[in-house]
Symmetry: C2
Subunit: 396 residues, 2 copies
């Protein structure tokens, strides 16, 4: 478990990510970054550790660590007790102190940023959230490979979900069996999300009209949840004949994650629901072809809306009692990475982006339908990482 | 699922918590608080919602909500789209604007605090993290009742854990079966923690020498984990004859949580391990009697160390390869509440505090031993909320 920062392979892999970060700094006034956010520490080093990553505009990367016992020694690994020791350690190493240091204003607490901003005395601090989000938005081949592995495992479990159903199960009982299957497959059981607007356990299983109960979280779908302390997802009611159950569970097997949704039914469901589900698949097929490098992200949203309108399903798209204004999002270390696929997004599709596309519908009286896949953007369109049948199968 | 803020019962329950917060403001220069942290929103309202809680020094409490559709209307519930609308809404309601507004510097991001600090223009902002931690540290009878219910459910599952073992199981397979049992008992499967120094799925199951692998997280025990992205807890190795397995799993059934650890063995274990386990129980029995209102928290730590030294077990206490310098912590909505029970803690024991005491040992070659219970401080000592046999039983 001791990563060796001297190993050629790890140096190469973290080097490619480091280059993305350094390139991202070029268009800013930042000459260094001091990173501490757990997701960014993992991104820069290949593991989570307690401490800091110091990145210079010239591409130097120093790992300052609080607990030296979890690391193999290396010339870019420095043990400290507190961040205030960083300047003297840099001076000792012959590295210039920053003029403008980038700190993670969006990811760290006000208290922690305020403390870190004082570490370098005269140096001015500025927000580096955008630099890190931009770097992480486009994945390196190694990151894509980790997500491909996620997709293989997540799909393998989803293939078996139908067999986990027993008559008169509640949505929660069904969810618990899916959680167990995912965990036995190697899922870490931890959903890393950015910010505080999404709290979730291992995912969302929503059945029947619970799909139409609004939730305060920033997820595509709602659900009442089990408790007003965590008001989203399954509510513990028995899954009823003639309704759907939408499964959108965790795909984190290695620190990166895929995001994937499939739908099952209990017996036959309404024509309207089947039609909406096919509309979701039609949207995905169109976007798989048309999501090419250079295209505007917002055009993906517009294209989805165009198909929804053609089918006359606007009233049910991305919710019914409450509708949300996105059809997908970036995914990687965190579930909610850039870009957010909305009508207002100003970003451009780039090769190597990993996108979760989730055109979903809520049909009153039936429940949620639609498919979510995680894709990687290639030169000729989207490659699906979550390959698994998309049809609605009945559980009984 | 729609909480009615006019209901006498909810007004009474949130009123008691509100009084603790307002009392805590008295010794500060704050005349209002603007709260947004998920845990604090749940504390102040009885549910999580997206929005803000505005609290005045005179005891007014206004709920500003982003999604009106999840609330029953009430005279202290105001729908907004963004926090910048709060001042004009307050003026409309005839409520004075603040001179010094307390914001959650420890819980909210730098970006979010900076935005909220601008909302009131001239008003100066200051940190209210201490006010909220202090208020939440001592529980109201209703909160204690919720934690008592957690303890009943968590203990009911722990009583059945021995039956979940199968020969040659890995620690992870064992953990997954415990997770399933907890979830079917009603556990929310979500561990709410404050800050970024602890990341965890549904808890920690550590077996044999994995207990001696240091982790970067702020937990009492370590473990390599399944992935360098989440380096704590079970590592997937088969549980071996002559070793222990320590189970420290989630007790969140309603938004509050109990924290509880028990140990099992695979066959017979060393005398040293059994002795250390009994030492842990001896510490708990002493602290159950001696933790009286008015006593210094640090004296609990000192008392535990005194017993450990008497038994000559210092080398193994609270870790072996790495030792941590606390024996317990407050617990409630979050796993890591005040006080931290350390030698340096300056807080005083108060009636109604809920404390998780976890004197644990790591015995090389055997694994972790010790007991953790969650207690509520009563006038005559500690009342245990996690009543369950404490002896080490063999799984085979």
């Amino acid at each position: 478990m001791q990563p060796d920062f001297q190993s050629p392979e790890l140096r190469h892999q973290t080097g490619l990510r480091l280059r993305r970060v350094v390139d991202g700094m070029a268009s800013t006034g930042l000459d260094t970054l001091l990173l501490a956010d757990n997701a960014n520490v993992f991104y820069m080093s290949g593991r989570y550790y307690r401490g800091y990553v110091y990145v210079t505009r010239t591409g130097k990367c120093i790992y300052f660590i609080i607990h030296p016992d979890i690391f193999a020694p290396a010339d870019n690994v420095v043990s400290i007790r507190k961040p205030e020791q960083i300047p003297s350690e840099l001076t000792r190493m012959g590295i210039d102190l920053p003029h403008v240091v980038g700190l993670e204003y969006d990811a760290l607490s006000y208290s922690e940023v305020s403390r870190l901003a004082k570490v370098f005395g005269e140096a001015v601090s500025a927000d580096c959230s955008g630099v890190m989000r931009g770097a992480r938005m486009v994945k390196t081949p190694y990151e894509i490979e980790l997500m491909r592995i996620d997709g293989v495992h997540q799909s393998a479990v989803y293939e078996r979900i139908g067999r986990l159903y027993r008559r008169d199960m509640t949505d929660l009982e069904f969810q618990v069996e899916i959680e167990r299957a995912l965990r036995l497959e190697g899922c870490l059981g931890y959903t890393r999300v950015a910010g505080r607007l999404m709290e979730i356990n291992m995912g969302s299983v929503i059945s029947g009209d619970n799909a139409d109960v609004p939730s305060p979280y920033d997820f595509a779908m709602g659900g009442a949840g089990q408790s007003p302390s965590l008001p989203g997802g399954a509510d513990g009611m028995t899954m009823k004949h003639g309704t759907t159950v939408m499964v959108d569970m965790n795909g984190n097997f290695n620190g990166y994650q895929t995001d994937m949704t499939r739908v099952w039914s209990v017996g036959e469901i309404s024509e309207e629901a089947l039609k909406a589900h096919e509309c979701s698949r039609r949207i995905l097929r169109a976007l798989e072809r048309e999501t090419l490098p250079g295209v505007e992200i917002r055009s993906l949203y517009d294209r989805a809306m165009e198909i929804v309108r053609e089918e006359g399903l606007e009233r049910y798209f991305m919710g019914h009692n409450r509708q949300v204004a996105f059809i997908g999002h970036g995914v990687g270390i965190e579930l909610n990475e850039q870009p957010a696929i909305t009508a207002r997004c100003r970003q451009i599709v780039e090769e190597g982006m990993t996108l979760a596309l989730e055109p979903k519908f809520v049909i009153p009286g039936t429940g949620a339908v639609g498919v979510e896949n995680t894709y990687v953007v290639r030169a000729d369109g989207l490659e699906c990482l979550t390959v698994c049948p998309e049809e609605i199968k009945s559980l009984i």
